[in-house]
Symmetry: C2
Subunit: 408 residues, 2 copies
Amino acid sequence: MFDRVFVNATGADGQSLNLAIRDGHFISLATERPETGRAEVVDLQGHLVLPGFVDGHIHLDKSFLGDRWRPHRVAATLRERLADEKAALASAAPIAQRADALIRQVASFGTMAMRSHVDVDATTGLTHLHAVMEAREKWRGLMDIELVAFPQAGVVSCPGTADLLDAAAREGADVVGGIDPTTLDGDADGQLDIVFGIAQKRGVKIDIHLHEAGAQGIEQLHRIAARTRAAGLEGRVSVSHAYALGDVSADEVARIADALAAAGVSIMTNAPGDRAFPPILQLRAAGVRVFSGNDNIQDAWWPYGNGDMLQRAMLLGYRSGFYTDEELLVALDMATEAGAAVIGKRDYGLKVGNEASFVVVKAPNAAAAVAAAPAGRVIVRRGQFWGDAPRMQFEPPEAVPAASGLHG
Amino acid sequence: MFDRVFVNATGADGQSLNLAIRDGHFISLATERPETGRAEVVDLQGHLVLPGFVDGHIHLDKSFLGDRWRPHRVAATLRERLADEKAALASAAPIAQRADALIRQVASFGTMAMRSHVDVDATTGLTHLHAVMEAREKWRGLMDIELVAFPQAGVVSCPGTADLLDAAAREGADVVGGIDPTTLDGDADGQLDIVFGIAQKRGVKIDIHLHEAGAQGIEQLHRIAARTRAAGLEGRVSVSHAYALGDVSADEVARIADALAAAGVSIMTNAPGDRAFPPILQLRAAGVRVFSGNDNIQDAWWPYGNGDMLQRAMLLGYRSGFYTDEELLVALDMATEAGAAVIGKRDYGLKVGNEASFVVVKAPNAAAAVAAAPAGRVIVRRGQFWGDAPRMQFEPPEAVPAASGLHG
């Protein structure tokens, strides 16, 4: 038997759904309302339930959210941007405080797991990592946080970083990062030797930021795929952004997609607004896992982002020309299941036996939820509401004739 | 003296703002809190106030909002899409009902004026126009609605449409529309003769949908600019979409921008997700008025859109690479002042003497509001709240350690 049942919900396909729960886990999900007996009954009023969102790429140490507004500053070079960012973060509120504010905000949208990159370089050392680990500890049980030791300033070109990445992997980072091995470090094999070496030595995963464009970027992806197979790290390596995949012909994408699929290298895109990005459907058709994340949120890099992965799914579709329900569900998969698989989140999703955690949204089905990305959410974790008493009043004010309906 | 004062607000620039109101109009806007005397005092709790949004391009007769979800259907040709749309709308809820639902939703986001295109063709006649006029009447006083008689199926190529456009202008349409004179009608001069003829005869404005690409589209813009000057219609002609401006070189844009500016032809873009669109800053720098609207909202053309013009401003910036505060404010201008000027909305904006209508948002300044597009809104019309008792609780739930904070 179950001790609680959420009735009158709507499932992803738009059909009726009733979710029975015992000890914080699903024991049935059915279109028919079960005999409720002595179980507590909660009416979801016909609203849609979605699995918790997974943000596959976020920077918890960078956002100014929870601090004052800082107008974006134009930087002429990458090095100028990095210096500007360091100066801005030095005068901002402590990282643990800002990370906490950001986690709080994304949790309120229904995100339940994330992969956060955290800057590691010769001047910051492991200070960012330790601060974000503090925030992670505070949110344990409500937010699964996988941490990437991210060499924002380069690896080979930033002396000392290699040792720091190794130390980070020893002290709590789950993933070792890399960044533009050729254009930033000028030594692709040098950087990849270090990154893959740490992954093998420490048993951590790999996630490499790759902004390199065109043929150069494609060559780098082939190199990463080959090293992944050589190291036996299939399924444990991701490349974030991989803009080059949006720059080249479909034939070239087909070749590298086969190599990525064979090596189990996954691709992360946030669907940037004003530049080309990977062709999602082609990669998926070739067997490549493609997932998503918000990336920068109101930080020194850009002013956009609210942390909502349902809005991110909308943006993925908006930018990719996804119109059909099937395509809209691809965008949702990238914000949920695909990211969960990359992070290795267990007990995840709307299936019997899994943790009874889900997001309640006003929408007739999951495709519609992606298209409109309604902002109102009610969050359920292990069968219980998170936050204030749930308000399932998602309706705008009643229509009113003329100027009545105004009041003091 | 004033009878009501909203204190402790934040203005677009992030400075303190206090808004004193008498008889529904602003009588002062000041950083200092005025002596309130016997006036009623409303505390805006430090939240930002923005002018009401203006949706410069919406289709009130097309959206399925307020009806059931209809999965997007792939159409091979424009004619197939038009046939598919007619079939879908024929089985949908009545237009007046759907238009009412859409107006209600956009009003709840803070839109206070709009230009709605309404299909006029040989089979629909003026039925859509009459239905939308019914919805317009219902919302009079809360939503200023300018109506465009829109020949979706063509003018020359759809016999009878010319007379219907003329009848529409006589019966209540404020603007006569056109569409792709060359590619849809195959007779640019034929269509423009009719459209400009009706505008001159009936004293209505012009708004032409122009999807024509590249050099052909630019040629059409030159033709429209020349006709506008010849007809003495400077300031009364708009071109919607004008995708061609995103297809050609900066030099070519510079030439046509000068012609558009000289003719007072304004350009509407909604910043589409997966195709090129007009370069906003270059056009504005040349003196062209550029405004925005949501365009299609969950209709037969595409599944996206929620009607929120603040989110649309975010998308304009996201797609255009607007990062600085100054650029973000351009996007906001396109969703407010620029559209108000096109529609000719009087008594508009946060200035002494104007109608005391505004939107309350949680953001530190207007640029930040565009970047994050927070969904929570409180709407004030002529000094009074619209809708339910205002909830200025925009905060997500408190951060909570571990799994406490969950409750039944």
